[in-house]
Amino acid sequence: MKNGLGPSGGSIDMVLLDHGSGGLASSRLIKEMFLARLSNPILDELEDSAELHLEGIRVAFSTDSYVVDPIFFPGGDIGELAVNGTINDLAMKGAEPVALSLGLILEEGFPGQDLARIMDSVARSARQAGVSVVTGDTKVVPRGKADKIFINTSGLGLLLHDFPLTASRIRPSDLILISGTVGDHGATIMTRREGLGLDGGLSSDTRPLHRMARALVDELGPEVRAFRDPTRGGLATSLVEMAHKAGLSFEIREEAIPVRDEVAQVCEILGLDPLYLANEGKMIAVVSQDAAARALEIMESMPESDGPAVIGRAVERGVVPVVMETAVGGRRAVEMLTGEPLPRIC
């Protein structure tokens, strides 16, 4: 303690749901609470996973916790998400995932049948992705002290290429690709959670992306500048973060961004923007202009993709990090998510 004051929480007097939304409030929490205390060159990068050099071996290391509600949803469940999510954090560094840890926090009274179903998903997803769960931990808390099941997974992956995949390597004229439709997972969960009966045709996009990422890196090498999986905060937040890190601006075209009709409709009704909805099986790839056509072909050839598209390009730093040409021909800034995505009220 200094000057008789308590430890500094910066501007945060209380943790709110906003702080977990992956947007501006989350980055403030990270900066004021965590970086203020834990800062080091690896953590300060704030990438999807950390890059470590261990006795000449380069590995990627990442951790993520899963608290999704509902735990079962169209297209997947919390177990599948916990495996794919952490694999994708490794994949965004171009890593070959090799091992996962699995930490479970279970609420007293949680049905064995549901747990078995989730663990089957974990096993199946890990097998399909070619990784093993090599260590784990279980805690059970009294009823009401946690909501059914929370999962933490950490992952370790090998970095087989010899250049960093990071937004700071992006150059003006590089092109920005997305591997498929945006907002599927977020729209699925939002409509399920609220029990709106609007979920017809919606399904989560949870899937592992490491094979597609590796295929791009293997063939195109350093022409691939950076990857990002736009999870919480959605495409918009990820693009703003990447542009900031690159010290450049991105220009994107609304018309080029693939959005499923069902997702667009739910967004209309609830007043949401698909650009801010979470994805669990999509990647942003920034590649050199020359490599873009081939990158798109590689994506299209893989089952993980889902209507990939070039959505924009990097340019010299302008007034705002991300500018969008709207579908009707206007121009506007794209900002990070600010707070939980909330419905409009009239």
Binding site: R332, G339, P343, I345, C346
Partner: protein, 382 residues
């Protein structure tokens, strides 16, 4: 008619329209506006979009950049979260802290700061039972599912939302539900517009009237604006081309010197509005005085629950302190922004002390607030 349902109906008829077609229409309308503007005397021509949904759509589509510099768009008092008085916000927060009470409301209301700095979201983090719902019927369902909770629906909104809330109250009355109440903060639009335009320093010459409120009340309630105040009015939909069509109509009215109410949204708005929705609203609510943020007390501009439904009126079941004079906790100028006297960028707090993740006033909280729109989509001057 529920606002969610009505917007769904509107959008489903729109989404069939080809996207390129819309882009072309926007281009044609923008050039028609540019050609019409020189025929209007006096620059800049100030137009107010009354409704928060218009504000958001204008920003989301980047329409400001498509308009010639001689047109100035300002936001009006049509954001229900923004115009809810500080005393009602404070009363709702106090209510949420009473034992056994569940406050259910629309997501945007959760983060509006009370005068003490607490918000419903912060009260929730401290243990109050506050739930976000998408419709008043969700709150009713909650009350039936959890009969041990006293569920109070915090109702904000205009003529679009009030009929749905009225239907909810009647549904609760039909089954004799005892643990459901409504805290009515509803407001009605025409009297607020009259207050705004009867002031002396009005620069606004044209009014973009809200499509969904108009679908309930029709064209009639706006007629006093051209007749008594010389204000041109256009009822407009919410898509980019529909908004531009409304602006073009306003310029043509001004150029001809004959202000009137033009319905540019006839597929959703009939001249007499929606009599069923009005009847529903009138069965449950009666006009009452209401305190508006930025506009003060406006006689007859609020909706109070009628005596026969007082069992469902939170104001009669709980001690909600009566509207006290508005006190402002900070130097937030939301009140001036709502009335078009200032733009968000004129505020000292804007984008510095006040951001959507740490809002100082409701215009930054609401997804339809002018400050949130400026923050989220502003910053680009093409």
């Amino acid at each position: 008619m529920p606002s969610l349902v009505s917007s769904a109906v509107f959008s489903s008829s729109i989404s069939s329209m080809d996207k390129m077609d819309r882009r072309e229409r926007v281009r044609l309308l923008a050039s028609a506006i540019e050609r019409e503007l020189p025929n209007v005397e006096g620059r800049p021509v100030t137009i107010m979009e009354v409704c928060g949904t218009h504000t958001m759509s204008i920003f989301r589509h980047g329409l400001r950049g498509l308009l010639p510099p001689g047109i100035k768009l300002i936001s009006g008092p049509g954001c229900p979260v923004c115009v809810t008085s500080q005393s009602q916000i404070d009363a709702a927060i106090a209510l949420s802290q009473l034992p056994g009470i569940t406050v259910a409301t629309f997501g945007d209301m959760l983060r509006v700061p009370g005068s003490s700095g607490l918000s419903l979201a912060k009260a929730k983090a401290q243990g109050a039972d506050v739930r976000m719902v998408y419709s008043p019927f969700d709150a009713l369902a909650l009350a039936r599912r959890e009969p041990w909770r006293k569920v109070c629906f915090l109702a904000v909104g205009f003529e679009t939302t009030a009929p749905v809330v009225a239907a909810t109250i009647r549904a609760a009355a039909r089954v004799g539900l005892e643990n459901f109440t409504v805290f009515s903060c509803h407001k009605t639009m025409p009297k607020a517009l009259e207050t705004l335009f009867s002031a002396e320093d009005v620069r606004v010459r044209g009014l973009l009237c809200p499509g969904h409120v108009s679908s309930i009340i029709g064209e009639g309630p706006y007629r006093f604006l051209p007749e008594s105040y010389g204000i041109s009015c256009a009822i407009a939909g919410f898509e980019a081309d529909e908004i531009l069509l409304g602006i073009l109509s306003l310029l043509r009215q001004m150029a001809s010197g004959r202000p009137r109410v033009e319905n540019c949204y006839p597929r959703a708005v009939s001249p007499g509005g929606n009599p069923r929705a009005i009847a529903e609203m009138e069965a449950v609510f009666k006009a009452a005085d209401a305190l508006w943020r930025g506009l003060g007390n406006i006689p007859g501009s609020g909706l109070e629950i009628r005596d026969e439904f007082s069992a469902y009126d939170a104001a009669s079941r709980f001690d909600l302190s009566p509207p006290a004079p508005e006190k402002r906790a900070s130097s937030c100028i939301c009140g001036q922004v709502i009335t078009g006297k200032a733009s968000p960028a004129d505020c000292r707090l804007f984008s510095r002390a006040c951001t959507p993740s740490d809002p100082q006033g409701p215009c930054m909280v609401s997804s339809e607030g002018a400050c949130a729109a400026w923050f989220k989509y502003g910053g680009v001057r093409p």
